[in-house]
Symmetry: C2
DNA sequence: TCGAAAATGTTGAATGTTCAAGAATTGGGA
DNA sequence: TCCCAATTCTTGAACATTCAACATTTTCGA
């Protein structure tokens, strides 16, 4: 017999809540590491995506770094002011804007990567290799199943 | 031999990124369910915490629903306007403000609970009982280990 | 070929969040 | 007891995000 869903579940038993909580905590820690360079997490993600040297359209970038279009536009404006990235129009589709990383951006990204890596290492230590791997696997599956 | 951390990991292999992605997706779905009642996810959390009928201080509430103080204050202002909750001063410590849920708030919370339950049920279906339970367990451990 | 609809990115106004400072109250040591 | 530091919550200004509307370019069917 299927048991009916219990609507009086405490907050802490909801998957959505656990995800929010874990995300908040991990993100906070990462943020605090990256603050050495005075850079928000999203900018690190942007730099990392652009690190392949290819041009990425604003749309693709927005998708990849989990920001919506207008927010990304304004964040990119700031990064252009800081000479971390630059815009080029796509020759094949002139509606598109392609983003590229600058040398300055590459150098910063390198430093950020190592800060982020040290955070991951710290998690691995406390939480264990096996649990981390398993968690990653489950999260990937959830993302696939949910979207 | 311990392998050195690889700084050139793609974005999608970072735990922080996977968490952000999963959280975003699940939260989006929940938001879309709750939008039937025109209520943001945070307000549902607040109502749920207050559903025990006890008075909760702003500080405790902020902690529980993952908002910082000023943000919570302003959200509570809105909810008071909507007659969902009300403030009372704590008699024992008059610095504190205790929040209570109103009848209107209780009725709304009930409807929201069932919307949220149907989302969880939907996830369970696509993702499986076992994986969901395991994921919840790993997330709880991570939260403990990280904080 | 032409024109309407879709795709892509930006902008400005409305809205929400955050940071720093402030007001009120409590607690604890001199 | 008295005063100063700590706690709790709110406020206002600075800042960031979101929504809707717009401009440009491409696509595709009539």
């Amino acid at each position: 017999m299927a048991k009916p869903p219990n609507p009086n579940t405490p907050l802490t038993e909801h998957l959505a809540y656990l995800l929010a909580q874990a995300n908040r905590e991990i993100n906070r820690q990462l943020e605090s590491r990256l603050s050495t360079e005075g850079v928000p997490v999203e900018q690190w993600r942007i730099l990392k995506v652009l690190s392949d040297g290819e041009g990425h359209s604003m749309g693709d970038l927005a998708e990849a770094v989990l920001l919506n279009h207008p927010t990304l536009t304004k964040m990119i404006d700031r990064m252009v002011s800081d000479s971390l990235v630059y815009r080029r129009q796509d020759a094949h589709d002139r509606r598109k804007v392609l983003m590229f990383i600058s040398d300055r951006g590459k150098a910063l990204c390198k430093r950020l990567n190592s800060l982020a890596a040290s955070q991951e290492a710290h998690i691995l230590e406390n939480y264990g290799d096996k649990a981390t791997g398993e968690l990653k696997r489950l999260l990937e599956n959830l993302i696939d199943a949910a979207s």
